[in-house]
Subunit: 63 residues, 2 copies
């Protein structure tokens, strides 16, 4: 499961800490998801999709 988080974040000039704050998760969680250590839970994936105004399928890709 790959994701486009880093790119989406860069497009908005958000730091990992800023994204984490907007998602109400820890900075370490954002980093872990971005660096592929694990996938977000489904509810968090929805919050991410909502924040960027995209469908989950447009952010998370089957590997």
């Amino acid at each position: 499961m790959k994701n486009r988080l880093k790119v989406l974040r860069a497009e908005r000039n958000w730091s990992q800490a800023e994204l984490a704050a907007r998602l109400e998760v820890s900075r370490q969680s954002v980093n872990a998801i971005e660096t592929g250590k694990y996938d977000p839970s489904l509810p968090l994936a929805f919050r991410i999709a909502d924040l960027f105004g995209l469908a989950i399928e447009e952010i998370f890709l089957r590997d």
Copy 2:
């Protein structure tokens, strides 16, 4: 996080056991997700969406 699993399964006349087999998870997992005990992981949500040929957003709804 609500979901339409039970309906989609009924449309196909699949038992929980049959759906579990197609998803390669346990019957208890399907039951737990259907009865709202917990949400599936993101990878499992993708497998479910793929199986039914729908977008994740068409199966799982923000509550």
